[in-house]
């Protein structure tokens, strides 16, 4: 009996409005590195459903960059720590260095993959130069008065480096060891967001909030001039060179990505992402990378929404847009139609995505959804298949499965939803005070148990309610009315989740302290109370189709698969989602499990030899 990770469907990069986000590609142009929440994801460019995740950072991650050799990644976080780790083998951490007293905004490797300059916000200093393997000092970052946003190192000898930030000044360094050479403070009139040496070392470019692009000599730092004045209509957040050093690409808050020809000093192509209007902010282009080592002239830009836009030089439309979640996935559901399985995920920021299980690609649901926390998703066969969602805006909404859009219907709930579940022809929503019954999106009934409700579950004509005081009530569901059948005092702790087995003969109960119990639905008798290995709140339970095995996900970051036939022989997966698992579900006929959690990623686990 074994369980192994099959794939990680990565989270989208974390972004902040009005702030650049760094993207990095390896030298071969195969993988992308970026920071999301407290993780770093390394994601295949050609198959975005393949990714690796590095989870050793203790604070919010901010940037990750591949070494030119391709063996290591250096990544920074909001606490000022840079970690260097192996990105080819096991992902072992090679070094952990405290650089500044605040957020690491950017870092750069030298051409030998030996030295790293990391920059950011701090008190005494805004950056530092170290060797990757021992953290020895190889120069000083000096001459800045405010946070540094970007740094670049010339990949050839003589070594040069440039760093710039909120003090509008670009500082040019000679190395190694890196020493202050000169400060250029009269070119940009606002924050500088990006600097970059061309791969051949001949040029240096800087861009910023003043929408300006300045070019300098890569060896001397001598200013060469400004190009494209007035073309970008918003802050320029990122810049990246083509591998032939003749062109570079810029990304801007004006929703455009532009390619520039250095010799001609002109833009040769421009893409505009998204549309004018209220939603335009999500299409601000906050980062860009032109992966070297590729033959298809692909470049990738990042929207504030986290979407990765695959742009091909010479083609006007994006080839592909990779969507996903940037924030904590708070709920997970599954629907099946025409033998095709689709996962549904809702996140803390209100986004709902559908995932094609076969390919691992996500699509964001369009239309008017929840503005915040999605508290539950449940599929129904209403219409041609609908997903009902509840959110902390205290509404229930529905999504058309085929069209992947909200239907537009929304009903107000009487309080904060604690869970949603679908019976034969009704949808139940638990709120602290009552259980509300909906049919076709309209409220048709209400039931008040004698305890504050914390979760609901339903199956055909039975429903189960869990309470704050550890009570579970099994109810009969007929039409839009509920009636209590069996009361169980399941736990001393709050009930956090409930799940009926596929034939509705058993009810699995999870509590706040990590206990999983199973009861017979018919008479409320205990089947097992042996499953106590979790140490924190059970967030999700799912039975396999045969009803023989139960999978549980918990805030303790672990996933366990339990067997009714041999209750003492469970399989465990530890540290699956950093900071907690929020959803687990069996897929592909019980051969795999999908999970989602606080790290905003979806993971697929292969289960073999169940006993």
């Amino acid at each position: 009996m074994s369980i192994t990770n099959e794939s990680i469907w990565a989270a989208s990069p974390s972004t902040t409005r009005g702030q650049p986000t760094q993207l990095s590609s390896d030298a071969k142009g195969e993988r992308l590195a970026y920071a999301t929440n407290k993780s770093i994801f390394l994601r295949s460019i050609d198959n975005p459903a393949i990714a690796r995740q590095y989870t050793e950072h203790k604070a919010q991650t901010t940037v990750a960059r591949f070494s030119p050799s391709g063996f290591y990644v250096a990544s920074g976080d909001a606490a000022g720590t840079v970690r260097v780790w192996d990105c080819v083998g096991e992902g072992i951490t090679k070094g952990e260095y405290s650089i500044v007293n605040g957020r690491i905004n950017d870092l750069a490797w030298d051409g030998d993959s030996q030295r790293i300059i990391a920059v950011g916000d701090g008190k005494q200093r805004y950056g530092h130069c170290i060797t990757w393997d021992s953290g020895n000092t190889v120069g000083e970052i000096f001459g800045h008065t405010q946070q540094i946003n970007s740094v670049s190192i010339r990949q050839q000898r003589p070594l040069r480096a440039a760093a710039a930030g909120d003090d509008k000044k670009l500082v040019f360094y000679h190395g190694a060891p890196f020493k202050f050479n000169m400060g250029i403070g009269d070119k940009h009139s606002n924050y500088i967001y990006g600097v970059g040496f061309s791969p051949d070392g001949s040029h240096l470019v800087s861009v910023g909030a003043d929408r300006k692009i300045w070019l300098y000599d890569g060896k001397t730092g001598e200013t060469k001039g400004q190009i494209g004045d007035g073309e970008h209509k918003g802050s320029i957040f990122g810049v990246s060179w083509s591998k032939d050093s003749r062109k570079f690409v810029t990304a801007s808050a004006d929703r455009t990505v532009k390619i520039w020809d250095v010799e001609a000093g002109k833009s040769t192509q421009s893409w505009t992402l998204g549309e004018e209007g209220a939603m335009a902010v999500r299409d601000h282009q906050v980062g860009v990378v032109w992966p070297p080592g590729r033959s298809d002239n692909l470049l990738i830009s990042l929207s504030l929404s986290g979407d990765l836009n695959y742009l091909v030089e010479g083609t006007p439309e994006p080839r592909q847009v990779i969507s996903g979640h940037q924030k904590n996935i708070t709920s997970l559901g599954k629907s099946t139609s025409d033998n095709k399985e689709t996962l549904w995920t809702g996140s803390f920021d209100g986004r709902v995505c559908s995932w094609d299980v076969a390919s691992g690609t996500a699509a964001e649901i369009e239309g008017e959804g929840h503005p915040g926390y999605v508290a539950g998703l449940t599929p129904t066969s209403e219409g041609a298949g609908r997903i009902y969602s509840v959110g902390w805006d205290d509404t229930i909404r529905s999504i058309d499965v085929a069209a992947k859009t909200y239907t537009g219907s929304a009903s107000k709930l009487t309080g904060q939803p604690k869970g949603v579940a679908a019976g034969d022809s009704t949808v139940l929503v638990g709120t602290a005070e009552a259980v509300e019954v909906f049919q076709d999106g309209k409220k048709t009934g209400e039931y008040k148990p004698n305890f504050p409700v914390t979760t609901v579950s339903a199956h055909g004509a039975v429903a189960a309610l869990g309470g704050e005081d550890g009570s579970v009530q099994i109810c009969k569901l007929s039409g839009s009315s509920l009636s209590g059948q069996t009361d169980i005092k399941a736990s001393r702790n709050q009930i956090s989740t409930l799940e009926f087995s596929p034939d509705a003969s058993l009810l699995a109960v999870g509590d706040l302290r990590g206990r999983v119990l199973v009861y017979k639905v018919a008479d409320g008798s205990l089947v097992t109370d042996r499953w106590t290995a979790h140490t924190a709140r059970i967030t999700s339970l799912s039975w396999n189709e045969a009803g023989t095995h139960l999978v549980s996900g918990s805030l303790d970051t672990n996933i366990f698969v339990w067997s009714l036939a041999s209750p003492g022989d469970w399989i465990e997966l530890k540290n699956t989602h950093k900071e907690g698992v929020n959803g687990v579900v069996w897929i592909e006929g019980g051969s795999k499990i999908a999970s989602a959690g606080v790290d905003a990623a979806v993971k697929v686990w292969k289960v073999e030899g169940l006993k």
Binding site: S14, A59, Q60, K327, N328, D349, A536, N575, E579, G580
Partner: protein, 471 residues
């Protein structure tokens, strides 16, 4: 009973004589009979001192709160680090704790009270020496102590018990071990949140691991100082705590409005010392802690963003506030501030600065996560996972709402590998009197007689025996 005889099982193991259990803390002293569920006597460890008729007078127990006598000043025999500083007074406070409610004041010697006419031949010569019966002459005594109590203090303790109180048998138990045992565990990481100290005591196979014992002053009194700092900065107006004894009447006012109360005033020569007022203010602060203060439950620090990127401060702000009414009638809602006053137990940077506070700004090393890290750093690598799987929370200040949740979160974040399990008695009494209850059970066992240090052994070996026997 003749104290020079070795103790017999039947005399204080069984039903005949109950041992006394004394659990002295910085804020309160707990005393009671072994075998009972809760300490019968719960008195403040503070005592009062004033002058009357040219003589110095002392006030003990709840009486210190009662009358604001002129010049009454409040003192504590125990130092801020939880170790006794003033032994003479510690002895008096402790003695008061059991004589006031348990043993009662002993009747004077019948041969000397002048009421009895006794033939001289019946007058035992011994009685001449033992002119006054000692308060614990009949009762074995089990006392508790913090894990970092120095050898000198331990010896001094047994000396008082044997020589001043005349106890026939004595034991000194580490309160960390008692708390672990009371949770059914012989190995545990005991986290004690007391009034003057927070401490981490690793217990393994029933022994404390001294190198892992860590403590810092960020206990209940520190939290009070943070609440005071908050009150000074409060808006719409700074809050002054006026204790009940200074108020003759009050009327209800709207939230945030100036209090409408009539105050009592004391002329300078009739007023009690400032320390008296401070002690009474502390009672209001205790109530505030119970009703208002909340520990940010995590995950992550209050100043950080939650797992969703939303700043925790924002989430805290959006949760409903809690109202509090002060003795003078002033009342208001406390929002995110109710989390701030305890946050520095976990995050030194979050301390509310107050240059006038007697507590210096906390250092990162004094916070709970760092103390725990240091504690585990001081024990063998192999037993760390056992300790993390058996974390026991005790101490009255651990009852702060949300404390256990936050502790679990911090431990899980800091030690992602091993299984972390925190157990905290849900029962308030067990959390407040955990070590007393543990001592009460042990001392009531018939079999415990082998553990006692008898008067005879003490006489033979001297005070140093406590180091050998009470490890």
């Amino acid at each position: 009973m003749n104290p020079s005889n070795p103790p017999q099982t039947a005399e204080y193991g069984g039903d005949e004589v109950s041992a006394i259990v004394l659990d002295p803390g910085y804020s309160t002293t707990r005393a009671g009979f072994a075998g009972e569920d809760a300490p019968k006597s719960l008195i403040p460890s503070y005592y009062g001192k004033y002058n009357a008729d040219g003589q110095e007078k002392l006030v003990f127990g709840d009486d210190v709160f009662v009358t604001p006598r002129p010049g009454l000043s409040i003192h504590n025999p125990i130092g801020k680090d939880g170790i006794v500083e003033d032994w003479d007074m510690a002895e008096k406070v402790w003695e008061y704790s059991f004589t006031s409610r348990l043993t009662g004041a002993k009747p004077g010697n019948p041969f000397h009270n002048g009421l009895n006419d006794i033939p001289s031949e019946e007058l035992p010569t011994e009685m001449e020496v033992e002119s006054e019966e000692k308060p614990l002459a009949d009762s074995p005594l089990l006392m508790t102590e913090p894990g970092w109590n120095p050898a000198k203090a331990r010896e001094k303790t047994i000396e008082i018990a044997m020589e001043k109180w005349g106890t026939p048998a004595f034991y000194l138990a580490r309160n960390g071990v008692l708390a672990a045992f009371a949770s059914g565990k012989a190995s545990a990481l005991v986290i004690d949140i007391g009034a003057s100290n927070i401490s981490i005591t690793p217990v393994h196979d029933g022994m404390i691991l001294k190198r892992g014992v860590q403590h810092s002053p960020l206990g209940g009194d520190y939290i009070s100082s943070q609440i005071r700092a908050l009150f000074k900065k409060n808006s719409p107006q700074p809050i002054t705590i006026t204790p009940h004894y200074l108020i003759s009447s009050k009327t209800a006012v709207e939230a945030g409005q100036e209090p409408q109360a009539k105050y009592k005033t004391f002329p300078a020569d009739k007023a009690p010392d400032a320390s008296y007022r401070a002690l009474l203010e502390e009672r209001t602060l205790s109530e505030f802690k119970e009703c208002v203060v909340q520990v940010w439950p995590g995950p992550n620090k209050l100043s950080a963003a939650g797992p969703n990127g939303v700043p925790n401060e924002e989430s805290a702000r959006s949760s409903p506030g809690r109202p509090f009414e002060f003795p003078d009638g002033y009342n208001q809602m406390f929002g995110v501030d109710r989390f701030r006053v305890v946050e520095s137990l976990f995050d030194a940077k979050a301390a509310i600065p107050d240059p006038e506070s007697i507590f210096p700004a906390p250092t990162p090393a004094q916070t709970l996560p760092e103390l725990i890290k240091a504690s585990l750093g001081g024990v063998d690598v192999d037993i760390r996972p056992h300790l993390l799987g058996n974390v026991v929370v005790t101490g009255a200040s651990s009852l702060l709402y949300g404390f256990t949740d936050r502790l679990s979160q911090e431990l899980m974040a800091q030690f992602p590998g091993p299984r972390v399990r925190v157990s905290a008695p849900g029962n308030t009494a067990e959390r407040r009197f955990g070590s007393w209850i543990g001592g009460s059970i042990l001392a009531s066992l018939g079999t415990f007689h082998q553990m006692w240090i008898s008067k005879k052994e003490y006489d033979e070996h001297g005070a140093n025996i406590v180091e050998k026997r009470c490890k």
